[in-house]
Amino acid sequence: MRSLIDSKHSNENLNNKDINHEAATVGLGGVGRSKKHESADKHVSGEALYIDDRPSLRGQLHAAVGQSTIAHGMIKSLDLTAVKAAEGVVAVITVDDVPGHTDIGPVFPGDPVLAIGKVEYVGQPIFAVAATSYDLARRAVKLAKIEYEELEAVLTVKDALAKQNFVRPPFTMQRGDSAAAIAKAEHQLSGEITVGGQEHFYLEGQISTAEPTEDGGLTVFSSSQHPSEVQKLVAEVLNIPLNKVIVDTRRMGGGFGGKETQAAPWACIAALLSNETKQPVKFKLSRTDDMSMTGKRHPFENNYQVGFDSNGQIKGINIEVNGNCGYSPDLSDAIVDRAMFHSDNAYFLDQATVTGNRCKLNTVSHTAYRGFGGPQGMMTIEMVMDDIARHLGKDPLEIRKINLYGKDERNVTHYHQTVEHNKMAELISSLEANSDYQARRASISAFNNENTILKKGIALTPVKFGISFTVQHLNQAGALVHVYTDGTIHLNHGGTEMGQGLYTKVAQIVAEEFQVDVDTVGVSATRTDKVPNTSPTAASSGTDLNGKAAQAAAQTIKARLIAFACEKYNVTDDEVSFSNNQVMVGAETFSFAEFVQQAYMGRVSLSSTGFYKTPKIHFDRATGKGRPFFYYSTGAAVSEVLIDTLTGEYKLLRADILHDVGHSLNPAIDIGQIEGAFIQGMGWLTTEELVWNEQGRLLSNNPATYKIPAISDTPSDFRVDLVPDDPNREQTIYNSKAVGEPPFMLGISVWSALKDAISSVAEHKFSPALDTPATPERVLWAVEEMQEKARANKTKQDLSTNDKA
């Protein structure tokens, strides 16, 4: 009889270990080490398969949609004759051909899968085509004849506010009496800021394929952060049960929140066309269609009134955040909530009122994007810090420090969560010292005195970001672990891989539990038939949730193995240990594979699910009070910039970052997340400009007109450190901390540094208004504003000197 274990394979593993010094010296499964991304070798060789790379199926068709050309109106007539007659066209559908639900709003209704008599933004899908090729489908949709009765379009936040045009009702969080506190304070200031949105620009655009199965169901391959939602919506539009739809996501070529809800429409349309034709259908959005038809980071228009003392400490503040949600609710309620939750960033606001409006505009529906409203919320308070500093003639860093949350007092947020384990002051001090902030501040002043055209600026800004979905039920995850008789392990969980290294980290966790090489843990595509009812991979929670679930599954199997060892070898469980790809039972040592085979022969189940739900969290939206966040992730950055006062051009010269990831599961991946997030945050605030015209059409709808950071935008001096030896005090997976979103907001330091440089033009006496993105044009206008103020100030001083004389 053939042996169950292919011993060649398991021995090879052991032999390899001797050669692999890194593995041999540590002898752990891998947690805490800089393991390469599980797909790194496949990425660099072009072997990693994305959905567009999958082999075409027999009879595969390609989808395209006809889009609204106006921002708001009723469809008077829709003539698809020419579309139907076009070369290659196999099927044409409208909303009338949808067998099930026609609304695919993820949380609240409002997103028709295809327009229902009315269009609410330029680019809204009206009908869909399946044709024999990608090009033929795209050409065919241009042939429709559509007549509209145009309605008035709301295209600015101000207009929406004036008309009280909201996708969801306003909401206020309050602590104390802010109006009284502001009035009583020694100083008062107010201001407003427009914060631009952001295109996700994942390098792989939106794409799904749908293949009919024999029982009237579908298998869908979707580049989605939320396969379970795609499954649910596909089932609903087709009016079939969920158990007939399987959604598979092996990897995405980037997500950043843009594939949380925005992947589903294309999957649903592919599914509808597949159902219509009984043929497989692929729907890939061209880059321009993707940029025109999918939601972006919400643009915001925020304002504040603050009262503070002569040290610059805030005594009371009113903040209003107005999110441009686009035409439908999508996730905007939670996004504007998060902007409100993060209106404090790292600062104690004392008496505070924070109001959030969810403005409805006739643009595409804005959606999740790394930070989920948090960044837009933080911008206001960081503006306040700079404004107070200039008003009092102090360094903004001093104002930021004096307003930080305290440890035992001044430690309750405006939503009444106590800030625990707060080490922000130490983190800032450490970064201030290591980045040489004070000495550089002095040399920058010297530079600015000598240079008339170029000016430098520097800023240190902190980030405190709350970790958990603020919608409580999403804070759960499942995993599935199999151990095979050759000692290899199969891992599956509900989280999706979009480049953030989730699969790698969770594999490290499972390897750690069994004390085997991480290479023996095989990861596979996220599939709704393996782990059901999953949450989106979002809110930075992928590892926290799925890592814990996978750990639970592994621990279940491990407990069974230990129980089996105790029984078979008559030992107690403390005599059974796992180490270095081996299982030690009393005095005996087996290779992991060998022992697994024994367990199999002893009829032990070698497969288990695992489940996790985040403890402690709760929030009562009615009172605006609770603990929405399990813990906070923190960090800070120092940016130094150079600006050209004649053109507004600028360059980031140096960035220093100190970020807290608790006990890092994988320092290389964490540093990669921090660097990437920082640069993406910088792009949001600098060169990435979304421009809509007066008819509501997005003009910056391709990479020739929408400029994400390129390689020269990365500073030549870029220093990123993790806070050493500081495990998360909460019982997270190996006491790590989430890292996906928090460092995005470190990019705010670049914006603040630009303002510092601009402010130097008027000897830092005034705080420049600098809406974002701070393009060279906006920087130049801000410089001009400073020059004018400096001139006016000088005239005023001259006059008063003359008066005295």
């Binding site: 390469k36 991304h37 797909s39 990425h43 660099v44 060789s45 072009g46 072997e47 398969l49 994305y50 567009d52 082999p55 795209r138 390098l203 792989e204 655009g205 990897r251 070529g253 980037g254 997500g255 061209s286 880059r287 321009t288 240079n451 055209i453 170029l454 480049g499 953030q500 290294g501 150079l642 050209d644 004649l646 053109t647 507004g648 051009e649 360059k651 991946i669 540093i671 990669g672 660097e675 990437g676 640069i679 003009l699 910056s700 391709n702 990479p703 020739a704 007109t705 400029k707 994400i708 950071p709 390129a710 390689i711 020269s712 990365t714 030549s716 060279p776 044009e777 130049l780 206008w781």
Partner: protein, 485 residues
């Protein structure tokens, strides 16, 4: 016409293509016809670099190879004729990654991985020419590759890993064989490609080109294709009759004479730029910011001029320098000043069946200086909001000669004649500069668009004149963000 099929090396294999749509891009060909999916489509417009592949071509010595990165998404398949096309799948040998791939893995240079094959290919091309590139060389080579995940630090580190001691890859191992194939291809007659609807023809000399155009005056000329291809990939158009200029021998002129440079219209930027760099340093630097390395490897001066875009960067610079161009139709050649070539938005004096042959760029005489400024949102690979070119001759603080031209300020690249008049034969001082700044408002009424407002364009144009003045007054002060290290 004596012509033959399109032949090239796909990695190390000879490939012949005949009955294929010449509107097909190299990317579509690789993915849809050859099922090589390693090369990705990120934008289909040459802006992201995910589709980067490498072409090897014979150098002028006819014995060595030049490796260059290009955007497969905006290169027509016919342009592969006579070249070696190298794709990401063929870098690895057996299970062993190529050294540029291994460096990416070791430096954690991939996250989502979708841009990674493109970066690998740009880095591969760089290392073929330069085994130990410095940071500036890496940035120049990779500026056309966008990554949304990493923030680039890890990718820069990977590309800077020296490959001096690396083992030979399969292309080095097959080098002589590849050279031999490419030499053989050179002896083939003009390449041709057609399907039922579209045709493609690559004449080998101006006689063939002129004849073809006289016979088919409606044919579309394509050189690098870096703009024309967008008509197919973005606007879903088709081009019935494509004539490729890259194989026309006389359009590859490159002369460095005593008083002028002569550049053939089909010479790619990366080929002619080194020659210009010594004479006009600021021009050399500006060209490094036109498009990306991939674009400059394919894009040509003839294309930039022929395209007649109001925001092309070379025309204003060349107009300021007083460049001429020759146009040929049949066997009749005429020479005109470049500034007379543009007549309206995307309109030129080019006649049916006429083509741009050479560009003549005068060298600077003593006392003459060119100052160039490219203003864009992003430093790398961005279309200018304003391109300002100041060509001045100053003797004893008197402006004795001045030509000023701008891009992005009008429907065509145009001289600022009122501004020039405010300076000519006047003292080079602050007062006259101020008057010249004002005069710009008489020369131009710029537009607002996605890149900049009309006000910004005017303000920046005026400020750049001031900056030019300040730089010439004091040559030691730091005035440019782009160059600041």
């Amino acid at each position: 016409m004596n012509s033959d099929a399109v032949r090239f090396l796909l990695n190390n294999d000879v490939v012949t293509i005949e009955n294929i749509d010449p509107n097909l891009t190299v990317l579509q060909y690789l993915r849809d016809e050859r099922f090589k999916n390693g090369t990705k489509e990120g934008c289909a417009s040459g802006d992201c670099g995910a589709c980067t592949v490498v072409l090897a071509e014979l150098n002028n010595d006819n014995e060595t190879l030049n490796y260059k990165s290009i955007n497969a998404c905006i290169s027509f398949v016919g342009s592969l004729h006579g070249k070696q096309l190298i794709t990401v799948e063929h870098l690895k040998q057996g299970a062993k990654l190529h050294h540029v791939q291994q460096a990416m893995v070791d430096n954690h240079g991939s996250q989502c991985g979708f841009c990674t094959p493109g970066f690998v290919m740009s880095s591969f091309a760089l290392h073929k020419q330069n085994s130990s590139p410095n940071r500036a060389e890496v940035l120049e080579a990779l500026a056309g590759n966008l990554c949304r995940c990493t923030g680039y630090r890890s990718i820069i580190d990977a590309a800077m890993v020296s490959s001096e001691d690396a083992e030979d890859d399969s292309f080095a191992q097959h080098y002589q064989q590849s050279v031999k194939h490419l030499q053989d291809f050179k002896n083939l007659p003009a390449a041709q490609l057609c399907n039922a609807k579209h045709q493609y023809y690559a004449p080998k000399n101006t006689a063939e080109l002129a004849e073809k155009l006289l016979n088919s005056p409606q044919a579309t000329l394509v050189a690098g294709g870096t703009d024309l291809a967008l008509m197919v990939t973005q606007n879903l158009g088709t081009i019935a009759d494509l004539v490729y200029l890259g194989d026309v021998a006389e359009l590859h002129t490159l002369e460095n004479n005593a008083d002028e440079f002569i550049i053939g219209s089909a010479v790619p930027y990366t080929t002619f730029t080194p020659m210009l760099h010594d004479e006009y340093h600021e021009l050399g630097e500006m060209i490094e910011r036109i498009g990306s390395r991939q674009i400059r490897n394919n894009g040509t001066l003839g294309g930039n001029i022929g395209n007649a875009s109001p925001i092309g960067d070379m025309p204003p610079a060349l107009i300021a320098l007083g460049a001429d161009i020759t146009l040929q139709r049949g066997d009749v050649e005429r020479k005109i000043a470049l500034e007379d070539y543009f007549v309206g938005y995307k309109q030129t004096v080019l006649k049916d069946a006429e083509f741009i042959k050479n560009i003549y760029i005068p060298k600077a005489k003593t006392g003459q200086i060119l100052k160039l400024y490219k203003i864009s949102k992003r430093i790398d690979d961005d279309i200018s909001a304003v391109l300002a070119a100041f060509f001045l001759e100053i003797n004893d603080n008197l402006v004795t000669n001045v030509r000023i031209a701008f891009g992005g300020m009008a429907a065509i690249p145009m001289r600022a004649k009122q501004c020039e008049a405010a300076l000519l034969n006047k003292a080079f001082n602050r007062e006259n500069i101020s008057a010249a700044q004002q005069a710009l408002t008489l020369d131009f009424q710029p537009m607002s668009d996605v890149r900049a407002s009309d006000k910004y364009r005017m303000k920046v144009a005026q400020n750049l004149l001031q900056k030019c003045y300040l730089e010439l007054q004091n040559k030691t002060i730091e005035t440019r963000v782009v160059n600041y290290a």
